[in-house]
């Protein structure tokens, strides 16, 4: 990335009562990046965002902006603006006054305010809405006003706290592309909080997966999806089959009752591991001693593909395929070495430090 991070979180800790909400968060956010904090509710993602915004003071650790420590700096003195979950538009002010709020506080002259408000409303496709009562707007329009109100202050970083949560699916999709466009047009940093993995994968340059107050994995969407660093990330991002496996030696693993070549190494001999296989990576073959044999239990049509549940000696596999088998049929399942994702068993601790060996290929060992 380009030079120094714009925001740096170092060992941030927060404890409420005896619940550790954040357990030592370390995160670098670079200029012009679209970073998404992704995780289930209660994972600490919103708290992390509020620390950046200045609404929550970390009990331990440092937060730096542009290399300067900003612990204790109140929200109104930070160069960041926030879009709140339920927009938090001021109900006693109209659209114009809401958007102009920040500039009026900065005592910008009224002529300039008027042109900048018009520009901003143009950007969010709401020009002409100036005199409207914010309470009369639809959810999507209120959302746009909130975006304009935050961006008019030219923040270096825009914080977005589940901004699309209250919108219906169609509108959410539209706003996703629109937000991404706005971010690229204005060329500023977005820090986005969501629990929706699809949203995160669509919009982000970098995804930070969080759980239980800890960062599980940081990476570009492709690597988060293709190389989840532990079972939690795998389960949270997309559908996946998570199985117990035994690593017999480098590049050779046993799971699901058979032996497979893989591309990971660096484990102890016969170490027990978690194996993650994406449903779409499973290849259906004729049952044989080279694959995992199971009985098709259910077939569900999903539009682009069929989702099949295949029972293999009590383990239910989820398989996505463009061709359907019939229920009760026997099937063989195979996976190419590159699609077998192997992770150390989660011992809650140094989860995020697991290194996945990305060497291609690997020797072929036959049993």
């Amino acid at each position: 990335m380009n030079g120094e991070p714009i925001i740096k979180l170092e060992n941030i800790e927060i404890t409420y009562g005896n619940i550790k909400v954040l357990k030592g968060i370390n995160l670098d956010i670079y200029d012009k990046e679209f970073v998404t904090l992704l995780g289930p509710s209660g994972c600490g993602k919103t708290t992390t965002l509020r620390i950046i915004g200045g609404f929550v003071e970390p009990q331990a650790g440092n937060i730096c902006f542009d290399g300067k420590k900003i612990n204790g700096v109140p929200p109104h003195k930070r160069q960041v603006n926030t879009i709140f979950q339920r927009y938090a538009l001021f109900p006693h002010l109209n659209v114009y006054e809401n958007v102009a709020f920040g500039l009026k506080l900065k005592k910008v002259n009224s002529g300039e305010i008027r042109t900048r408000v018009a520009e901003m409303l143009e950007l969010v496709d709401l020009n002409g809405f100036q005199p409207r009562d914010v309470n009369s707007l639809s959810g999507g329009q209120q959302q746009r006003v909130a975006i304009a109100r935050a961006l008019i202050n030219h923040p270096r970083v825009l914080l977005l706290d589940e901004p699309l949560g209250a919108l219906d699916l169609q509108l959410r999709k539209e706003m996703q592309t629109e937000l991404k466009k706005i971010q690229q047009r204005l060329n500023i940093t977005f820090v986005y909080v969501t629990h929706d993995q699809e949203e995160a994968l669509t919009m982000s340059d970098k995804i930070v997966v969080m759980n239980n107050g800890e960062i599980q994995q940081i990476g570009v969407p492709e690597s988060i999806y293709n190389e989840p660093s532990n079972a939690f990330v795998a389960r949270f991002i997309g559908d996946s089959n998570i199985l117990d496996g035994i690593m017999h030696r480098d590049y050779f693993i046993e799971f699901g009752g058979n032996y497979f070549d893989c591309i990971d190494g660096g484990f102890e001999k016969t170490e027990r591991v978690d194996v993650v296989i994406r449903p779409e990576d499973i290849i259906i073959e004729e049952p044989s001693d080279k694959n995992i044999i199971g009985i098709v239990e259910a077939v569900i049509f999903k539009g682009v593909h069929y989702e099949m549940i295949i029972d293999s000696f009590g383990v239910k596999w989820t398989v996505h395929s463009t061709s359907a088998l019939t229920v009760g049929e026997a099937a063989g399942m195979n996976v190419s070495p590159g699609n077998i994702h192997i992770m150390k068993k989660t011992a809650e601790t140094d989860i995020s430090r697991i290194i996945i060996n990305e060497t291609d290929g690997g020797e072929i060992i036959t049993e």
Binding site: G53, H76, T82, F84, Q85, A88, L105, A150
Partner: protein
């Protein structure tokens, strides 16, 4: 459709008719008639003689209302930002004095404020006083504030808990300091609470007679005392009493209308 029917309101409508509209009509009738039952405006014009009493009552009422507002506003705001559990306890403490009889509470102030009452005796320990506290305008205002303060706190608190924390955060986020938040967000959004609080304190303060009688001594007349005198006192003249009541009523209605002019937004939960 029972839910659309007005039938359930019947008991209240009868109540209003018998105990509010009829007496109101009687007040009106008495105010414009003499002892013989003939129409006259003498009663109304006689009210002018009591101009100074009116002015004093309104002045004391205004002071008491202002003091209540100054005390209640920051308190209600702080209360609205407390933990839920704490809010309930504080609410109890505010309502607690109301469980005791109003007269009794005012009597208690008499014993506290007397020349040889508790406060003066305490001050005496330090060689101070005794101060003349009872039978002063200050004592009357104190009595009004003491008795009506909850009626200022409650409507303010009610509007303030409805101000979402995220609005305050959004304002800070956009560059508003603490005072900025108060002026630009809290003040305009709590306006309906301020107007109903003022109404609920000012109206009973202006027309009280017990507080002025007990804490102000007999000498310092307020409108309430004046009216009471015409009906139950030596100056028995229900026609004049009705006229004074009528003028007071018109005055209060006018001031409330004026107050509501300031409250230009359409507001829910307004009184009057």
């Amino acid at each position: 459709m029972i839910f659309k029917s007005r039938l359930p309101a019947a008991p209240y409508i009868i109540w209003v008719a018998v105990f509010i509209l009829v007496p109101l009509f009687l007040v009106f009738f008495f105010a414009f008639t003499d002892t013989g039952g003939n129409f006259t405006v003498v009663n109304i014009s006689d009210v002018a003689k009591f101009g100074p009493v009116f002015i004093r009552s309104v002045l004391l009422g205004l002071i008491a209302t202002a003091v209540c507002l100054i005390l209640a506003y920051p308190f209600a705001f702080a209360m609205s930002r407390m933990r839920r559990g704490l809010q309930k306890i504080v609410m109890m403490l505010i309502i607690l004095p109301m469980w005791m009889n109003y007269l009794l509470r005012t009597y208690a102030w008499m014993t506290l404020l007397e020349t040889n009452g508790l406060i003066n005796r305490f001050a005496g320990f330090f060689g101070l006083g005794p101060f003349q506290m009872l039978n002063t305008d200050g004592a009357i205002v104190l009595g009004m504030v003491y008795n009506y303060l909850p009626f200022m706190i409650l409507p303010l608190y009610t509007v303030m808990i409805r101000i979402d924390e995220s609005l305050i955060e959004a304002a800070q986020d956009l560059g508003a300091s603490f005072t900025g938040v108060i002026i630009k967000i809290i003040a305009p959004l709590s306006k309906p609470g301020v107007t109903s609080g003022i109404t609920m304190v000012f109206v009973p303060s202006v027309s009280t007679f017990i507080i002025s009688r007990m804490l102000g001594g007999g000498a310092n007349f307020l409108i309430g005392d004046l009216i009471e005198q015409q009906f139950l006192g030596n100056a028995y003249n229900p026609h004049l009493g009705s006229a004074i009541s009528l003028i007071l009523m018109v005055f209060i209605l006018l001031s409330m209308a004026l107050l509501n002019r300031f409250d230009d937004d359409e507001t829910e939960g307004m009184l009057v």
